[in-house]
Symmetry: C2
Subunit: 442 residues, 2 copies
């Protein structure tokens, strides 16, 4: 392998260290043998073929912004990093497609598309740091999902290196394609367990006309805010962003970076409308919110409100708060899940802050608890209860962060034994030696 | 098996015959052993467990409207029909989800949703005859794909019976869900080769406000119509339907069922706009068409124009024309593919009629040729050339009909050997005895 990779095979511990973990709470598994700083599909292929031959465990890494432990290095394993594969290979304006290498920063792809009047719909909060390849490998969500769907909805075709180093193409450049199994979708969200994405053709959309509006509606009662979200989503307006911050979240964000937001007694909805009728849509939404219990609304031409929402993760990190969830519920269950979270919080005697991609029912609740083994155990118990509540309401254990190593114990809460078997059978069929991100995601 | 199924196991040859084939040109493979008229998941499970134990080949059948031979019975095989599983189990208005058995007629689901102000977006031309289960198994397309995507975009969760009779659930009721591999998408479009869909939870959308408009734009030059489609798709308007009929298609449809349409020298675009601004959108589209070469446009409040388009298949069938393709191209390549089809037609000395779901680049070209072995061979050669042209332009061999048995020889034209291997590995992992729709689709 060394002869194939030359200086792109890195074994200096100081240089390896930054590639050994992601942004999750996962515990380090040990020092990897080496990092491959891949610059081409051939590099990735050489690395995997070598690892497969010697049974070396491989972790795959974009920017390492994952929150589920999926990119943590294995002790004695190989890290395959694609963060140097940063070429935007093609922007096909007439067909609204872009072809990129996996290490392109998501916001850079978006910016490149915007120079042609197009944009890249997926918009994870990490878009300025995370890579397109990582977004695809985890099927990342984000703020615009309520309008545009998740990352998988934007992926048209992939080039993938399989565990044994073979290179495969999936998908097509057409909108419709029913040729064999949908391997594109199988690899999107597979969290590095089936192959390494080395190229992606993604769908762009035209930038909406007019100028966007942001809106805010503060609610004395959290449950009313939940009800308002259900009503908005079921109305004729189509917000591009529809987020919720509960009272404690706003406090935490304001104390991290004051922007003049007043924490409501219950919760605050913030969002964005686009198109020629952005103002009318925002007015319709805020009027609906006032009908449903909001006592304070605002419409703005700046996006300061959304910037505040985007500070949620840094603000939580600054407080050392890291025990959180990523559950999803059907959007009509939002009021009920908020009521339940308040009960769980009271039962455990722990404060819980929640931000939500409310328009699609995806919640991130974080538990205030000391960073001690006891405190972490207590916080985990709260998250477990919230997760079971979400499942009870027809929800999911992960809306957008994925399973990685952190949520693996929850898999059997959601998937039946046959589905777990089928996942395993697919994994074994595509990676018979079990080298690719073993013991994670499935 | 007989004890489990009782009278739902049918062996009378006269009763079996209607279940032995689909609507494709595929040649009968012989008489099946029996048909299971399943009324429940348990029936399907019992049938597959039996077939798996004895190595009996199974074909799966909804309404038998497939055009690729996927549901053809096997000689001595078992037909599992789900056409009696017709219950609409739930319409969850607040979450815009419907849960149905697989034998529900697609138009019936749509009608049920409309009673709640919602609709089911997938709209294959066969919607009044085909089943939701069959649409999912083939990832059916249709007229509204340009606005709403394909069937897979509307599927949220499935219940599936595997080859060995085990029952599994996939997916979730939430908009976002990243828990393990996307088994839902793996089964959508798998054409009965991985399991039998016994229940589906699908996404509904709100009926747009206002009343729709249909529009027509006739073009003296076919290539100009192709260019107009590219321009419309890349403009700010969002037609819900955007179809193309070439001159010969209009002639064939008019002679089958006269509705006063004048065949243009080149081609006719017909489509539909919806929403409060349907009229303005239709005017924008027809104005764009006139700029790009249309000499005759029309806007209407009735959908007679679309009805004419929907008669294309019956009209072709009435002439005995059945050698056709289902290729897709990136939408910017439409003008070029039309130019190429004209060349191929001239080279072979065969008249070719083309209708297209133009907005998503999906073409159905049909060859006029005698229904003799020689005539069929000649027509197949024309279709092969059109298919290769589509691939050359970055397209696909099948946009919506699937591979079945009819297009299997074309698979290797599109998929690389590694992708073919991976498809086979997945099939072998999930159906080790190879009983489910063997030797088709992949």
């Amino acid at each position: 392998m060394e002869s194939a990779l030359g200086p792109r095979l890195v074994r200096d511990p100081d240089l390896i260290a930054p590639y050994a973990r992601d942004t999750s709470r996962a515990v380090d598994e040990g020092t990897p043998l080496a990092v491959v700083l891949a610059e081409s599909t051939a590099d990735v292929s050489a690395a995997l073929a070598w690892a497969d031959r010697f049974g070396v465990q491989v972790s795959v890494r974009g920017a390492g912004t994952g929150l589920a432990g999926g990119a943590m290095a294995y002790s004695g394993g190989l890290v395959v990093s694609v963060d140097r594969m940063t070429a935007i290979l093609d922007i096909d304006v007439a067909n609204r497609l872009a072809t990129v290498q996996p290490g392109v920063i998501t916001a850079d792809l978006d910016a490149a598309a915007r120079r042609h009047g197009l944009f890249f719909p997926p918009d994870p909060a990490s878009a300025r740091m995370s890579t397109v390849g990582g977004n695809i490998a985890t099927n990342a969500g984000g703020l615009r999902c309520v309008a545009h769907g998740v990352t998988s909805d934007a992926v048209s075709a992939l080039e993938v290196v399989l565990a044994d180093g073979r290179v495969m193409r999936t998908g097509a450049r057409t909108r419709k394609n029913v040729v064999g199994y949908d391997l594109t979708r199988l690899f999107v969200g597979s969290e590095g367990t089936l192959g390494v994405i080395t190229e992606a053709t993604v769908r762009l959309k035209p930038v909406p006309p007019g100028s966007p509006r942001t809106f805010r509606a503060s609610f004395p009662e959290l449950e009313d805010a939940g009800r308002a979200v259900t009503a908005i989503v079921n109305s004729a307006v189509r917000p591009e962003v529809l987020e919720l911050m509960d009272s404690l979240s706003v406090e935490i964000i304001e104390s991290f970076h004051p922007s003049g937001l007043t924490a409501p007694a219950g919760a605050m909805l913030v969002g964005q409308t686009v198109g020629w009728d952005a103002q009318v849509q925002a007015e319709t939404i805020t009027a609906l919110c006032r009908e449903l219990g909001s006592d304070d609304t605002e419409i703005s031409e700046t996006d300061a409100l959304l910037e505040a929402r985007r500070l949620s993760n840094p603000a939580l990190n600054a407080r050392g708060l890291k025990i959180s969830c990523d559950v999803g519920v059907p959007v009509a269950a939002l009021a009920e899940v908020f009521r339940g979270i308040a009960q769980i919080s009271a039962q455990h005697g722990k404060r819980v802050s929640t931000v939500a991609h409310a328009g699609d029912g995806n919640l991130h609740s974080t538990v205030e608890s000391p960073d001690t083994p006891e405190g972490i155990r207590e916080a985990d118990a709260v998250i477990d209860d919230i997760t079971r509540l979400a499942l009870l309401l027809g929800g999911t254990i992960s809306g957008e962060h994925g399973i990685g190593s952190v949520k693996r114990h929850e898999l059997a809460w959601q998937l039946d034994p046959v589905a777990l078997d089928v996942q395993r059978a697919i994994k074994d069929a595509l990676d018979p030696n079990g080298i690719l991100t073993p013991d994670r995601a499935i």
